[in-house]
Point group: C2
Chain length 434, copies 2
């Protein structure tokens, strides 16, 4: 019987995250303080983030960053995640390609987001903080932070985009089950929220409003730190656990990927699965591996954005980040893949795109759900709308293999399940999706 899934023994779990910056040919440009236009410092950053996260963001000159024991212990609650050979999907596509996916949907919170929520909450706890806060759109990151905070015995407050709070009440419920205090944003609980609601009492919220509220809460509350689920380099660092495991697992299968694919919101899951493989291209031991970021057609920052300094949030509270961006005021269409509705790409990935090490593919919402439905029927997992983009890109690659009559090995990251997104599938099946 052909082997379907590959796991690592717990003793073989990676002990370090991989920091790609030392290996980059051209380093990413520094983040700038928007007022002084000087590079932000660890001191600046640690006013809102934990000190350790700030250090990892700005000072990480080591290639390998040790994973704290306590974080590794919590990783064993769900890691290694399985690497899966998608025999069912391959058969349905009638392709000579070998398709593998890393199944991050098996995490307690249903997505890869927990890989960074655990260390971020842990650092806050270790540094004496009692509270953490963040924003969430689709809800995957908020759920991850809620659970991670609960694990380390600290309180969490999540600002959830109001539209999502109302459309996906069960995401809110999950955060509450994990003990988090969840507020629809914009809210009357912050100055930023009040200002927005004064101008527009019916504002439906955005990641921009929610970030502004969470950052304000962290700034104004002693013992409370802000955390972020993507975009920043330290988040991507934590997510390299995905690629590091996948590298060992695909070796167990006797293979090596020709193409590595991740969906693309802020870049952390894409970087997480790609960078450990990309390091072999950077050090010259592997040639020709392709890295494909699958972004929504309606939010095409990688293919149609411009490279330059831009804010990370709508209100302009964050430092200026050197990145491909559609502009921080860009308002993406209301696609169901809320996690991909972000205007910019993290600094590292942006530099790598500029230098030709990674590429991007635009996926329409219809293609993404068609891919997700086929995947559900053949592999038995209902994928998150975000993950559907990676699946669609993998299907495209597999179709090319069939047309060319070439066997290639495709690896993609299944970031999460879509069990909180069934309303979106309903619309797709009913033909009501555009």
């Amino acid at each position: 019987m052909k082997q379907k899934r590959y796991f690592l023994d717990e003793k073989d779990l990676p002990e370090q995250w991989y920091n790609i910056v030392p290996d980059m040919v051209v380093k990413p440009q520094p983040m700038l303080d928007p007022v002084t236009r000087k590079p932000v410092t660890v001191e600046d950053l640690s006013r809102i983030f934990s000190l350790e996260a700030s250090r990892q963001e700005l000072n990480a000159t080591d290639r390998w960053i040790p994973i704290p024991d306590k974080v590794r212990e919590m990783y064993t609650y769900y890691r290694s995640t399985p690497l899966v050979r998608a025999y069912g999907l391959e058969k349905a596509l009638d392709t000579p390609a070998h398709i593998y996916f890393k199944n991050e949907s098996v995490s307690p919170v249903g997505s890869h987001k927990l890989n960074s929520a655990i260390p971020q909450a842990y650092y806050c706890k270790m540094e004496g903080d009692t509270n953490v806060t963040t924003e969430t759109g689709a809800g995957q990151w908020g759920t991850a932070l809620a659970y991670a905070a609960s694990v380390f015995g600290i309180d969490s407050a999540v600002y959830q985009v109001k539209l999502s709070y109302e459309q996906k009440p069960y995401r809110r419920s999950m955060m509450q089950v994990f003990g988090s205090q969840v507020t629809a944003s914009p809210s009357m609980s912050t100055r930023a929220g009040k200002d927005i609601l004064t101008v527009n009492p019916h504002h439906q919220g955005s990641l921009g409003t929610a970030i502004s509220e969470a950052v304000e809460l962290a700034r104004m509350t002693p013992g409370c730190k802000y955390t972020l689920g993507s975009v920043m380099s330290h988040v991507t660092l934590h997510q390299t656990i995905i690629g590091l495991e996948a590298e060992k697992q695909i070796e167990m299968a006797g293979e090596y990927p020709d193409v590595v694919i991740g969906c693309f919101g802020g870049g952390s899951n894409f970087g997480g699965i790609s960078f450990p493989f990309l390091r072999h291209v950077l050090d010259g031991t592997r040639k020709g591996t392709r890295f494909v970021a699958a972004e929504p057609e309606s939010c095409p920052k990688m293919t149609k954005g411009e490279f330059g300094y831009d804010f990370g949030d709508e209100a302009g509270y964050t430092p200026l980040i050197p990145m491909f961006s559609l502009g921080h005021k860009f308002r993406p269409a209301h696609i169901h893949a809320g996690g991909l509705r972000y205007h910019g790409a993290g600094a590292i990935v942006s530099q790598l795109l500029k230098d030709g090490f990674v590429e991007a593919a635009d996926i329409s919402q219809m293609d993404s759900f068609a891919a997700g439905t086929l995947f559900a029927r053949t592999e038995g997992i209902v994928p998150a709308p975000e993950s559907c983009h990676a699946i669609a890109a993998a299907i495209r690659e597999a179709a090319a293999c069939r047309e060319e009559g070439v066997q290639r090995t495709i690896l993609f990251n299944l970031t999460g399940h879509g069990l909180m997104d069934m309303a979106a599938y309903d619309q797709y099946l009913a033909g009501n999706l555009v």
Copy 2:
């Protein structure tokens, strides 16, 4: 670092299911035809079930039943499921007990139900059927059958209890994503449904009405067979994969359970995790292992039911089953654990209860959700309302260990996740649950 999760290599997956009947001291009495009062035959049963399922139900004299290769292959899509040491829960309970759970929630459809849906759909396919049908209450079984049918390329029609169809629309969506035709029961699509609706146009449905409709569809449709998700002996047979894996996995942990716990609806998951361990009691190689069925206080067939012949459905279409029952007209309260709202216990478990080999614990709905919420916060999995009953029983056992100052090893079956049941958790957290 202490090991948290145990997996089997795919090559070590069980190749046979365990049939407990040959090892039973007193065999279960036969099912009877309600009209002739004679034992039902394979011929009778195979008019609605697949021939192979009918044979397994009535003629299984072998202790070990080979699992077909194709079924084993589909099992590898999610099996072995992890055996998990619940360190987080143990710590929260401050108990000397070692608590393990078998995590069946990682299956593609979110529960253990798939273990039997795969072989049942496979047998139908092999016997030339083109369609399968069934009923579903909570939705776990219907989802499992929808996916299994899709895998083997046959069509499926699921009658979902109308109340559940409307309260849990996302369960319906999942079945539709897997390609199933889902109908709220009672419906106008069958004679049985029409009769019910004529008398009561606002009937909210029950497992009884849905079984009647599905059985009628199977009887009236060439190439269509009926399938069932619990109660029957062949279903429990398929579920022994759970206990057979758990036995190997807990040995990897260097332990053996003192108490084995499963929630109890019709008995298939409870039998599935228990029987492989119970066989060592029956053959005299192990003494003192306890087997606890966790049933809802509001549907106490094991503790307060009577043993005798009763129908499996409300309308009286099924054979008479020798079982502990609250009466086939019993109407359990509308608790959220829809999978446990069944009036009777399967024939084998009923006989074992009668003979003192298994015991039962009654769990209130409040206790079940308190247990489920604690479990979510400590182990990171939001459990199904059904599974919450097993967790509550495990917590009770662990508390006894603490009080007695005794270390015992507790094993329970986590049948499924509760991600489709967040509305129930909402009610619990809001204090609106009775």
